[in-house]
Amino acid sequence: MHPRRNKRVAAAGVTLATLTLILLVADVLLGSEPVPLATAWRALLGTEQSHLSQIILGYRFPKAMVALLVGVSLSVSGLQMQTVFRNPLADPYILGVSSGAGLGVALFVMGYSVWGTTAVGALLASMGYAVSACVGAAFIMSIMLTISMRVRDIMAVLILGVMIGSATSAIISALQFFSRETALKSYVLWTMGGLGNVTSAQLYVLIAVTLAGSVLALLSIKTLNALMQGESYARSIGYNVGKNRLAIMLTATLLTGTATAFCGPIGFIGVAVPHVARMLIREADHRYLLPITMLLGAVAMLLCDVISSLPGYETSLPINTVTSLLGIPIVILVIVRNQKIV
């Protein structure tokens, strides 16, 4: 058998896990006001009571957790979409699924009355964001899935995805035009997104969904491998393609929808991270690729968050700006490399 491959993947796994930890700490410590490690530690233990501990507990630590969770969510759903669509550039952002989530949120925000400020009300409101985003994402996902089953040319599918994403954004703009001022304000706040505006109620929902989605994704590893070769092969080795494809896309929708509901649309993590994972371990088997993609997703998102709020500046860069600047070169590299295949 092949002795080196497990070692190589394990080495990548350990390195990425260590990097996740380091970046998590860095993300908590660094910001417009850097915090010393000892102070941050005491704040987390609850023995430090100062404005610094408030920054740590109320803002930085939750934000770092959100970065980690969203990184995992978007990367996993990117990998799932790439395999199921059999398209190296499939990703929730490019194929308009994130816009679909935005449409869901827009309809929810502009439609709902005030939920109240009680803890239950806050939880319900965050659930409302999440559910409406997931429904919107599922809507676009089902359109794209139908298209990809009929259109063989992967570039045509991508262009259609971009078109549908733009159409969705146009509908949202129209909705904004007709909506009341307060609703408009909360929607615009949402589109600006960011990892730091997540309430603790939302954080719990995010943790639950990311955990559930990751477990479901890990359970679908064999199916993803079976689907890798396309419909007829998957069926010939005993897979009901329709049912399995739907189950995997539901997971991807849940992950993207929830992450987008709370942080706004974040681009290029979903498409870029699985490719970096492939370059790193040189494997296509999802038993290796999926766990490495998860870890790398966490690392990538934490890194983007660290970059977006580097010390010395009062404000931080929008997270979507950083993910785009880091992700787009990788997408371009993939397109150039794929020229022979596409």
């Binding site: 079976a226 070769q229 007829s232 092969y233 080795i237 005993g238 494997e283 088997d285």
Partner: protein
């Protein structure tokens, strides 16, 4: 030719085609055919006659309009999908390109009907994978990337994948397409050997008339609305190939089986 043992594939009054918006579009009229154990069967027919549709119907990807396909003497629709996967394996014309996919991993996909929830291979599964690669002469390539293979090598690997699935029946859609002449013969000879030595029923579609005539045990021929089956010589005597090559400037030499061109 090989004495007809148990029929592995039995096509009974099968009508293939599509149903769109409640309207049936027949591609080929009802016909019956058999393929026996240890038989190498070549499916011949011109473009658009429905060879691929027939293949897809036989492996169950596409429902038939009428009639049935019996696999090992039972209607294939009565098998659960997983059981069917242990009886029929398939090699399609799709050129699957997945970056970084190792030859070993590709072939081990054939073991999926036998592995558990995570698809972890037992030591027996790994043995079967390596043995399948050895049977097609590709064991040295086990740890290479599939993207680095030539067309002939890739076809061998795809056949190994079907062998790893360990099914009594293998169906291949144009396995000789895109190959050079020696490779075409090599692949069909390999199929012949696998059929004989391992008593598998192997059905493949092809446009290589002379190769099929020389090597296959039985031919299935889809002419214009007519279906013919039988041993190559038998079909030759019945002038089936003249029907196949109707309205072309080609004919088949009844002595040698070679294709002849008429220059006007």
């Amino acid at each position: 030719m090989a004495a007809q043992a148990k029929p592995a594939i039995e096509v009974r009054g099968l009508r293939i085609g599509y149903t769109a918006k409640g309207v049936q579009r027949e591609i080929f009229p009802a016909f019956s055919a058999t393929a026996g154990e240890a038989e190498l069967v070549a499916l011949l027919g011109r473009n658009g006659r429905g060879k691929s549709t027939l293949m897809r119907t036989i492996i169950g990807i596409q429902p038939s309009l009428d009639g049935s396909v019996h696999i090992l003497e039972k209607d294939m629709r009565s098998y659960p999908l997983r059981t069917l996967a242990t009886l029929v394996s398939y090699v399609s014309t799709d050129n699957v390109k997945v970056g970084n996919l190792k030859v070993f991993d590709l072939v081990s996909l054939g073991r999926y009907p036998y592995t558990g929830w995570f698809g972890t291979l037992s030591s027996k599964d790994k043995e079967v994978v390596m043995h399948s690669l050895a049977m097609v002469g590709m064991e040295a390539y086990a740890w290479q990337n599939t993207s680095c293979l030539s067309d002939g090598e890739r076809q061998r690997v795809m056949i190994a994948r079907a062998l790893a699935q360990d099914t009594p029946i293998i169906v291949l859609d144009e396995p000789t397409a895109f190959l050079d002449l020696p490779n075409r013969y090599e692949i069909v000879l390999l199929l012949k050997q696998l059929a004989q030595e391992q008593r598998r029923a192997i059905l493949f579609s092809t446009h290589d008339l002379s190769i099929a005539l020389k090597i296959a045990d039985r031919l299935w021929v889809m002419c214009d609305g007519e279906f013919h089956q039988g041993a190559p010589q038998e079909l030759m005597l019945n002038s089936v190939f003249d029907k196949l090559l109707q309205n072309t400037r080609l004919s088949v030499d009844h002595e040698t089986g070679e294709v002849r061109v008429r220059f006007e």
